[in-house]
């Protein structure tokens, strides 16, 4: 027990006295920032792609759009996230000649990556809604997009919320690879705390706990949302 208590003392000193908690909080914030904004971009992008995929293919523009979406989804699902981050930060940025914050690059790459996955989730969700719902919307005179946005997508969201929550959780955990492009996220922050003293046990245990709490919290939020969305299924 002695070694553990001395390890605790070292960790305490590193975290509190030397201000390590600031790094940790900063890292936590970055992690949440990348995951949340990535998911927002992903949902918007994924919804658009899913809509292009389910649109009636009687229009050449839709066909071309559909092929572009296939290529996009194929690329982002076919390569590891780390590789996409490296490509984005070390290849694409210099090629375009722009300098940008690594966090921004991470957010965009995470958004693009999750967009590819969300598009498939969304498509399944849209197709799970009875086609009669869209038909009824069109029959009263709503154009395709308003009918989709007002009637079909709200119902599909309800069906896919658990899967979408899963995607968010995966995204939160996957942010741990952004240190490849020198972003200080939660993992990087705790690693640097450990690096300062070569005492890794507590920082890494704490790191795991923080991720766990974060994910459990998100799980709880999703459950609340699901319950609210299922309102219209309850019988009075």
């Amino acid at each position: 027990m002695g070694s553990l208590s001395s390890a605790w003392n070292v960790f305490y000193e590193q975290m509190i006295t030397k201000g390590g908690y600031k790094t940790a909080l900063q890292g936590l914030f970055t992690t949440i920032e990348i995951a949340v904004l990535g998911l927002v971009i992903g949902i918007i992008l994924g919804t658009l792609i899913a809509l292009v995929k389910v649109m009636p293919k009687n229009n050449p523009a839709v066909k071309i759009g559909s092929v572009i979406c296939d290529v996009y989804v194929g690329f982002f699902r076919g390569t590891p996230m780390v590789v996409q981050l490296l490509l984005g930060y070390f290849v694409l940025l210099p090629m375009l000649g722009v300098s940008s914050d690594a966090v921004v690059v991470a957010i965009i790459i995470f958004g693009l990556n999750s967009g590819a996955y969300v598009s498939e989730i969304m498509r399944a969700g849209i197709q799970s809604v009875d086609p009669g719902q869209l038909e009824a919307g069109r029959a009263v005179g709503l154009p395709f997009w308003p009918a989709m946005l007002k009637i079909v997508i709200p119902q599909s969201i309800k069906n896919i919320l658990p899967t979408l929550g899963n995607e968010f959780i995966v995204l939160i955990k996957e942010t741990s690879v952004v240190s490849f492009i020198a972003v200080v996220d939660l993992t990087k922050a705790f690693k640097s705390i450990g690096d300062a003293t070569y005492e890794y046990i507590l920082p890494y245990v704490m790191l795991a706990l923080v991720y766990l709490i974060l994910v459990l919290f998100v799980t709880y939020l999703i459950k609340l949302m699901e319950r609210r969305l299922r309102r219209n299924e309850r019988t009075v």
């Binding site: 009687n58 009875d130 009669g132 719902q133 038909e135 009824a136 919307g137 069109r138 029959a139 009263v140 005179g141 709503l142 154009p143 308003p146 007002k150 009637i151 709200p154 119902q155 309800k158 309102r231 219209n232 299924e233 019988t235 009075v236």
Partner: protein, 285 residues
């Protein structure tokens, strides 16, 4: 685009040489139908004869493969025509009700009127913006378009109209519940008033009672009869022979993708001419 089609006097919807194929399967083989204002038409026939497809072609829920459908001076089968504004005037009632599950009953009824009202308001505002901009350079100032009702008024009016319609079918206490809590007959009657909320010129019924429990068929048919008596123009695909005989002005018997026989109900049921009609009637009556 062609010059607007001149509708013959008293004809509200006209299908001409309508054909529809699904792949190699030719479902409709050239149908002609003129629907007169205020007329109630019942379409009957064996299953798979294309009656539902025909009805769904009339408001382009299914795009016809060839042929024309004239409504309000436009050929709505033409893909260049904005079908949505025409569909506002063609009500449709489905076999499976298709109430919007994510909306309450009153929201179901208000959705389309509010959408259309708000859209018209925005369009008028946008046009006025351009006129104002143009007036900066014009000697003779152009007058602004009158603004239609504001979105708030639109919502209020749509709500009043929806409540009035619900009172009519005796379901005003169901205004704020979700469709999943209603019986089939209630759902279908609400689906009918949802279509009515747009004040359509013609209503299409796709087997409105086929998915209902027997004891609920009556309430739905009574509502449709009421509409018929008020002079609503209707096309009804149905298996209810008694109802068709009682309500319709004209019966169409479809078989194999064509209209095999067409007659007023008395004549149709008492003195069918076509062999297929006789065979069909002997089975169902």
């Amino acid at each position: 685009m062609n010059a607007p089609y001149k509708m013959p006097e008293g004809i509200i919807l006209s299908a001409q040489n309508l054909k529809k194929s699904f792949g190699d399967n030719e479902v409709l083989r050239g149908l002609n139908l003129d629907i007169r204002n205020g007329e109630v038409i019942a379409i009957i026939g064996p299953s798979g004869c294309g009656k539902s497809t025909f009805l769904r072609c009339l408001n382009c829920m299914e795009d016809p493969t060839s042929g024309s459908i004239f409504f309000d001076g436009d050929d709505i089968a033409d893909v260049r025509i904005n079908i949505n504004t025409h569909r506002e005037n063609i009500g449709m009632v489905f076999q499976q009700f298709n109430l919007f599950n994510n909306k309450t009953v009153i929201e179901n009824i208000m959705l389309a009127p509010v959408y259309v009202g708000v859209r018209n308001y925005r369009q008028a505002k946008r046009k006025n913006g351009w006129i104002k901009f143009g007036n900066l350079f014009r000697k003779n100032k152009k007058d602004l378009l009158p603004l239609p009702t504001t979105p708030a008024q639109v919502k209020k009016q749509a709500h009043e109209r929806a409540m009035q319609l619900l009172r009519r079918i005796g379901l005003e206490e169901k205004a704020t519940v979700y469709p999943s809590t209603l019986s089939g007959g209630q759902k279908q009657r609400i689906a009918i008033v949802r279509a009515l909320a747009m004040n359509p010129k013609v209503m299409l019924f796709d087997e409105p009672t086929s998915a209902l429990d027997p004891e609920m068929v009556g309430e739905v048919l009574d509502l449709i009869k009421e509409l018929a008596n008020e002079g609503m123009t209707m096309v009804i695909v149905t298996h209810e022979m008694g109802f068709a005989r009682e309500t319709a002005d004209r019966i169409l018997f479809m078989d194999g993708g064509v209209i095999a026989e067409e007659a007023p109900p008395q004549e149709f049921f008492s003195n069918p001419k076509n062999e297929r009609t006789k065979e069909f009637l002997s089975k169902v009556l």
